[in-house]
Amino acid sequence: MNHDAYPDNYIRGILNSVKSIAMVGASPVNVRPSYFAFKYLAQRGYDMIPVNPGHVGKELLGNPFVASLVDIGRPVDMIDIFRNSSHIMPVVEEALTLDPLPKVIWMQLGARDDAAAAKAESVGIKVVMNRCPKIEYGRLSSEISWMGVNSRTLSSKRAPAPTQGMRLSLNRMSVGGGDTAASDRAAKNKTEQR
């Protein structure tokens, strides 16, 4: 996978197929991006599991915190890592000990570890880096268009008005993006400079 520019169908396929998401680094502080993303994905019907050793014994929006991935005790489809790039590898290594393996490892906006990605991909796990699943879900459903964001999708179909807890269709027509987008090219240049 080219991690500089993901085709929409790759992201769409992941968000349409996973049901449970373990969020590593989920924060109970309601101004942290992980809290926003956790809450949004829960409202859109995903089975969310907060993973943060600092908050064991507490709950995040009704879901009990677990200390680590191995403590989840049931299969998870996707692991969403809200940690800096330098803390990614140990989480991926732990994920690779799970049985069954997760189908997807997702690293948040700003996080990228190509070696960890290669390790996960070598055992068939799909990897997304430097993206936010909330933003991508909002973009592909065009819900994010309320904020003036370019969803890079079109549709001539009448969609239901989104309500609390509703799953939205992500199957709109994509209109490019990826390596056609100046923003993705800029991100690639930044990665190369490192």
Binding site: P7, D8, N9, R12, N30, V31, P33, Y35, F36, K39, Y40, L109, G110, C132, I135, G138, S142, E143, I144, S145, W146, M147, G148, V149, N150, S151, R152, L154, S155, S156, K157, R158, A159, P160, A161, P162, T163, Q164, N171, M173, S174, V175, G176, G177, G178, T180, A181, A182, S183, R185, A186, A187, K190
Partner: protein, 426 residues
């Protein structure tokens, strides 16, 4: 569902719009409402805390305006946009996110006269100090960079004389200085030039001009290219530092490559207040649907009129980048191959008096202070749009006393030429 890039005309009609979820209305409805009900207290708190997507109050966002924002973002190739009340409002909101009192920004000397005034006088009272540079001399931008420089501002096609700016060369200066390049793309529209493809980090427009296109609605817009890294060195605290207005949110960290557009909305528009009327957004959206058709006709007519003027004995010179002899023609071929725009100037051998006489005799051209209308327009910049400048500054900005500015409309070109012929000849 394949990932392919549709053409510009398809985006001009469709981007951002879809049938209304409630009624099935196919045209974008005018959501003429100040406010939007919340589902419950938690939903309200989520919206105010920037945690959920949705509408609160039309000063912060409106569904009609949102369609306009996404459409222009798509046409410009940006990540997001914010519509505001006017092009001037767009400039205030952009610079408020970038400059603290005492900071500087570099601006091209050849700009719309209203922008020159805004930068020189209004922004000075905010402590935002403009430093002028010459768009025909790239080194003058490099020389103007200081540790307090926070942005560079240029026009893609410069008002009033229609010169083409070397966006790539100036974007190299901006990148080296570590500051964003802001391009006012009003006179080109994204149909002719997409500044983001040439290194712009932020694009602004007066939507009042070619995008709206019919001379009936004011509006402005800010497009975030998503290309600038705001996190470095604490230089842009509105983007990189915890915002007390929002309980410590860091916008870049939270919103990634569209954080600038969000900052303009939640820190600029929310607090300064220049919201666009949803009715104007609707009018402008309708205009944008035909932008490709109109813009090509504007350019084709402008070239024909410029060629006519070159051959007329009363005309001293014509400044139109679409003419092979023009000093900007090379840049026009590179940046605007479909046409060099429809706003340009020419000077008359008879000087100021001949200009006044011409304006009074024209019967199709309207004498007024606007550009980018379906109708052809004429103005004498030295006595109007650029009248606040002193004589030296008028000449430097391309608005000397003998100069007449035209904005060519989409009428039949033969009629425009005949009108100019009778007004020049009699």
């Amino acid at each position: 569902m394949s990932d392919r890039l549709p053409g510009f005309s398809t985006l001009a009609v469709h981007a951002g719009a879809q049938p209304d979820p409630t009624t099935g209305a196919r045209a974008t409805p005018i959501y003429q409402t100040t406010s939007f009900v919340f589902n419950d207290a938690d939903h309200a708190a989520s919206l105010f805390g920037l945690q959920a997507f949705g509408n609160i109050y039309t000063r912060i966002g409106n569904p009609t305006n949102a369609v306009l924002e996404e459409r222009v973002a798509a046409l410009e190739g940006g990540t997001a946009a914010l519509a505001v009340a006017s092009g001037h409002a767009a400039q205030v909101v952009v610079l408020q996110q970038l400059l603290q009192p005492g900071d500087e920004f570099i601006a091209a000397r050849k700009l719309y006269g209203g922008s020159i005034n805004q930068f020189t006088h209004a922004f000075k009272s905010f402590g935002w100090n403009v430093v002028w540079a010459d768009p025909d001399d790239i080194a003058s931008f490099e020389r103007a960079v200081t540790p307090r420089t926070k942005a560079i501002f240029i026009e893609s096609i410069a008002n009033p004389a229609g010169g083409i700016t070397d966006i790539e060369a100036i974007s190299t200066v901006a990148r080296k200085a570590g500051v964003p390049l802001i391009v006012d793309n009003t006179l080109a529209s994204p149909y002719l030039i997409r500044p983001i493809d040439h290194g712009a980090d932020i694009v602004v427009h007066s939507l009042t001009k070619f995008l709206g296109g019919h001379g009936n609605s004011l509006g402005g817009i800010i497009v975030d290219a998503g290309t600038f890294d705001w996190s470095t060195g604490g230089k842009y605290p509105m983007l990189s530092e915890p915002r007390p207005e929002y309980h410590g949110i860091r916008l870049q960290e939270t919103f990634g490559n569209f954080a600038f557009a969000i900052a303009c909305r939640v820190l600029g528009l929310r607090d300064l207040g220049p919201a666009l009327s949803p009715f104007n957004a609707f009018m402008i959206l309708t205009g944008i649907e035909t932008l490709p058709l109109r813009m090509q006709k504007h350019c084709d007519n402008a070239k024909a009129v410029a060629e006519f003027l070159v051959g007329h004995p009363a005309v001293a010179s014509v400044s139109y980048a679409g003419l092979p002899s023009d000093k900007y023609n090379q840049l026009a071929r590179k940046y605007a191959p479909k046409g060099a725009g429809a706003v340009f100037t020419f000077s008359l051998k008879g000087g100021y008096d001949a200009g006044v006489s011409l304006v009074s005799k024209l019967q199709l051209f309207s004498h007024l202070a606007n550009v980018g209308d379906t109708r052809s327009l004429v103005i004498h910049p030295a006595s109007t749009t650029h009248s606040q400048l002193d004589d030296a500054a008028k000449i430097k900005s391309g608005a000397g006393p003998d100069v007449v500015r035209l904005s060519i409309g989409i009428e039949d070109k033969e009629d425009l030429i005949a009108d100019l012929e009778q007004a020049l000849g009699a």
